[in-house]
Homo-oligomer: 200 residues x 2
DNA sequence: ATACTAGTTGACCGTTCGGTAAAATGCAAG
DNA sequence: CTTGCATTTTACCGAACGGTCAACTAGTAT
């Protein structure tokens, strides 16, 4: 059972950086198997298809973030609007460290996969959509807390949260197009200027 | 010469909707050739590689936009900030009409390609970066005109322009993840709330 | 008439793709 | 000792991948 778990996680561990740094279509099962030291037949014992693997990879990234930077950023002890700053900073430092190691800015794997596969695979699209929905909720809760604390003026927290998430993804996209995480540093803080007014 | 031009443009015409609706890696030369009614050898007479084809496709999309919606939106006759509204509206209506025909929201091909290939091909990345740079310039010029006309308070036009471009791409990304162009309609107008203050 | 060239054809290259199936292995419970 | 199950190995599938090549066609310029 332990060995089995190990094989499965070796596969995921081999797949993660590859899907992140290249693309879904550009990474083959064979390459992953070789890197993980696993035979292809063994791969298909644990994953019914390539799609199932990438879903597991998505889950791992999501968990990693949820228990890492996201947990730190959305710490209730922080003043609400500072949590948003923290999250943007975390994205910046993360991308920067990746570039230092890898030589390239890899961006957000959820955004990457969304634009690549969401017209071709509704199951993957739904999976990624769920990730974004959770992210949006964090922003929304934070905004509502900030409004309650009169840190910011009342607004449409749902749409503003979605706008902020969109902005973050867009900033990472532009940064990736320049292969330069400093773009996140320069543009990131403007996220707090975004506002959708409350419905009348 | 006319016939030759025709073959070349039939190839591009076949490739355009495919790259837009799927991905770079997922569209094969063979499929494009079949759809265009062209032999593969003939394809490689006009395009040295698949990359050269997609660059031609990028140019076509860029020209199409530049002479279409972008020209309309950035009409000097319009008040500057209304041009930005116009562009967001254009993106919305375009994606909406694509979805009506195609059943799916395809998003922005420049954003799509950027996230897919920019870690793997610096030449393509540079090509896409140039597209984004031009787009940013349009925003920047518009913002500066708006400041000059005292329509808006002075700001850092360069960074605000980049932020707006990022936001637009991010909104389209989220819309694609939901396969719903209405996301652009809801979130788009908030683009004008983005601000990066002028350097002290 | 001839030579050159742009364009086209169709067969072909080796490689990789995602996925399958059957046999072998190891281990644990009865 | 044996049955059963999870895991692994190995060989294989047909299809598609990007790209190449030599032969052929047709029109043009000399």
């Amino acid at each position: 059972m332990n060995i089995a778990t190990d094989t499965r996680s070796r596969i995921i561990a081999a797949a993660k950086p590859r899907f992140h740094s290249r693309s879904y279509a550009n990474v083959g099962i064979q390459e992953i198997c070789e890197s993980a030291g696993v035979q292809k037949g063994s791969f298909y014992h644990f994953f019914p298809s390539k799609r199932d693997l990438v879903m597991a990879v998505i889950d791992e990234f999501a968990d990693e973030w949820a228990h890492g930077f996201v947990a730190e950023a959305f710490d209730p002890a922080l003043p609400p609007m500072e949590r948003i700053d923290y999250l943007v900073d975390a994205a910046y430092f993360w991308q920067k460290s990746i570039k230092q190691v890898h030589g390239r800015m890899l961006g957000c794997i959820f955004g990457n996969l969304t634009l690549e596969v969401s017209t071709q695979d509704d199951i993957l699209r739904a999976k990624l959509l769920a990730i974004f929905s959770r992210a949006k909720s964090r922003f929304k809760d934070t905004l509502e807390e900030a409004v309650a604390a009169t840190t910011i003026a009342p607004l449409n927290s749902d749409l503003t949260a979605e706008a902020m998430l969109a902005y973050l993804e867009g900033v990472i996209l532009l940064a990736k197009s320049q292969n330069d995480p400093e773009v996140i540093y320069r543009l990131g803080p403007a996220i707090k200027t975004l506002r959708v007014e409350a419905a009348a």
